[in-house]
Subunit: 422 residues, 2 copies
């Protein structure tokens, strides 16, 4: 055990992490029915106890407003009847999804008669570190419950009253079910020390999932020795190839940039093959500017009206708003090189009528999701048909891209013999 | 970039890691044939250049002997014609294995017409940290090459002349092939700093694989922020149930303990259901003791001749030799509880004629491989039929148990549309 986690401040963390680990072994034995019944109980309790929850949420809102929290942050923090209802509905929907635990992934027989199966099992204990969105508390707890994992939740101090209320309601609901209430643990001490102690709590936590802004995620990745499922930033590109259909290219670029600019799969840089640009740049710019998009352009793009000169930093920036960087490139190789240099390995698209260009792009761009003739906005567990989403992984191990329930599972080999020795 | 890796000592590391990362993108484009031709070239070169390699290896052997290295360590360090021939044969065998890169894992169509495929791709850059076995140099380089990954090798100072010679021969062989020689990098500065700098080299390394003793692996796991594939220690158990067939139980326990006691899938503790022990303990002890096994027993087992009393530490010890801990338990629950407390989640076996006891054990024991009526010694990539083995993972993310070539791959989603926007 490291020095950091022997301090008195984190005794709550150690105590709750131990309890979660103890609960994890009974979680692994639950049937799908038992888990679904518990999800239904939580759904009912959220609605039944809404007065209690909303009163506690109001304390966070008042404190947030007094401390000068911005309206958009207050909006993320706020719960109301409708949002609790949505949370309850999401829980009910989760009961309808297939339980990945117990699934036989492969089964084969060896020449010596051993029969080997690989079977999905829960991971164990998931540590969640997140910001001031109380909905993550219920979302994380329910996804972990469905996949037979225990969870240690460490939310933000600004949402602490909401989180305590929600976890109290969850515990109450679970007390009437086969799921041990101790499988859901909330760390109430929200000082920085409890988060940093979680980074190195390899003894009790099997994985850490940070959910929030790029800074939070980078801090966890750079400091955690517990394995991290990195749900990272998206500096996504649309590359418009020489052969791109005009209307399709404009539709996709505008959709990827403007349909919901605050999300990680929105487009941040548009790359344009130079002969296409010579023909169609004004039309593309006009549509973007009409939508209110501020354009940072390279020397070619700058020649158009109302374009700000792009600097090196623009190629790296995730604007998350109505701004876009725009650059001309000689060919698909130039686009691939730019993306592999500046991209965050999230979602990248080529708009092209040339199959060979598309194949090169799809093969050589290094990203979780690569698109031909479609918007990057589809990188999403629901759009992929997974029915639930833990987040979108931008790392390469364990899970990459939109993560459905199976991303919260591990596997074990089960080998049956009749006395085989080596 | 952290302070640790800005020091002058590690500039070789940064330089070589950058080159490996640059080479990784061309590695991903290689065809299976190109990779196999390169493996054949390396195989020939190892045999052709054996005089050069063995002369360099001899320098390590002489230095090792002068510094008082034990005979068993010297044996691991030693190369000879036969061993080089074996290495060359392993390379040729590797060419015969299926290339996982490019494999379509799943493919489906969404209601909006998007066609989504998940496709295996290389991980990128693998960091290998290992001890004084020069064969790991060739083994790691060839497995990474076959799976389209670049590799940064950091071996032990005691094998540095051998490793430099082997990598020189590999580079020479690759220079005549489509595989970039820069995809295989050897860190020649073997001071501790270069290893610890690798732990946090997230910018260039996608994964670290430590290969060696438990201490090396624990140091990497406890300090690395780069994701680690943990190939861990094996404190493996054989549980002999009340209903176990006498002959099968003795055969399996003796095989698991004595057939090759120095390996991670050998048995370290035998758990015996108490009524079975009352009937058969003397027979089991007699066979083990005849094989030269020293037995550390609980109070019941201690009553037999020649048994040393077990202390708490024995339940945690990986003897890796002809010693075993032995304990009686009331039932299968007692066995499961003991294993989940003291086991290292590697390989665990129940010997039983009762199907319900076996099912409980297989479901509730938390380990990479769980066996019914077979020896734990089968936890091995070759015994599983994988044709190659990177190591045996005792962690739960990405890969668990014996790791074949697919463990060195990631995946990407490829999405084809015809203009879809959200």
């Amino acid at each position: 055990m490291t020095e950091a986690i022997q301090t008195e401040q984190v005794s709550e963390l150690i105590d709750k992490a131990k309890k979660a680990k103890a609960a994890a072994s009974s979680m692994a034995k639950l049937t799908t029915d038992q888990k679904n019944r518990a999800l239904h109980q939580i759904a009912s309790a959220l609605v039944r106890e809404q007065e209690f929850i909303l009163a506690k949420n109001d304390k966070d809102i008042v404190a947030g407003r007094n401390s000068g929290m911005t309206e958009s942050l207050l909006d993320r923090l706020r719960l109301d009847e409708g949002r609790l209802q949505d949370m309850a509905e999401a829980l009910v929907q989760l009961t309808g999804l297939a339980d990945p635990v117990g699934e036989v992934l492969e089964k084969w027989e060896r020449p010596n008669g051993l029969v080997i199966s690989s079977i999905r099992v829960p991971i164990g204990v998931i540590g969640m570190i997140y910001e001031a969105r109380p909905n993550v508390t219920v979302d994380a707890a329910s996804l972990c419950l469905k996949t037979g994992n225990a969870v240690v939740l460490r939310g933000s101090s600004t949402a602490i009253h909401s989180n305590k209320a929600l976890v109290r309601v969850i515990h109450q609901a679970l007390s009437e079910t086969a799921v041990p209430a101790e499988a859901v643990q909330l760390i109430e001490d929200t000082r920085r020390e409890t988060a940093t102690a979680m980074f190195k709590l390899n003894e009790y936590l099997d994985v850490l999932i940070p959910r929030g802004g790029a800074k939070l995620i980078q801090t966890v990745v750079a400091n955690a020795t517990v394995p991290v499922l990195e749900t990272g930033a998206g500096n996504c590109h649309i590359y418009i190839d020489e052969t791109a259909d005009l209307e399709m290219a404009i539709d996709i670029a505008v959709n990827a940039k403007t349909q919901r600019p605050s999300v990680c799969n929105a487009c941040e840089t548009i790359l344009i093959q130079e002969t296409w640009a010579a023909r169609h740049l004004p039309e593309l710019l006009a549509v973007l500017q009409e939508k209110g998009v501020v354009v940072h352009g390279d020397p070619v793009v700058q020649q158009a009206d109302g374009v700000i000169p792009a600097i090196e930093e623009d190629w790296e920036t995730e604007y998350l708003g109505l701004e876009v960087a725009m650059k001309t490139v000689a060919d698909v190789d130039g686009a691939i090189a730019h993306i592999n240099t500046y991209g965050t390995r999230h979602s990248e698209a080529i708009i092209s009528a040339a199959a060979d260009h598309a194949e090169r792009f799809l093969a050589e761009v290094d990203a979780a999701a690569v698109y031909h003739n479609a918007s990057t906005r589809f990188t999403d567990g629901f759009e992929f048909g997974f029915g639930a989403e833990i987040g979108i992984s931008t790392q390469k191990l364990h899970a990459r891209g939109p993560m459905g329930l199976p991303a919260l599972t591990s596997m074990k080999y089960v080998i049956k013999g009749n006395g085989q020795v080596k």
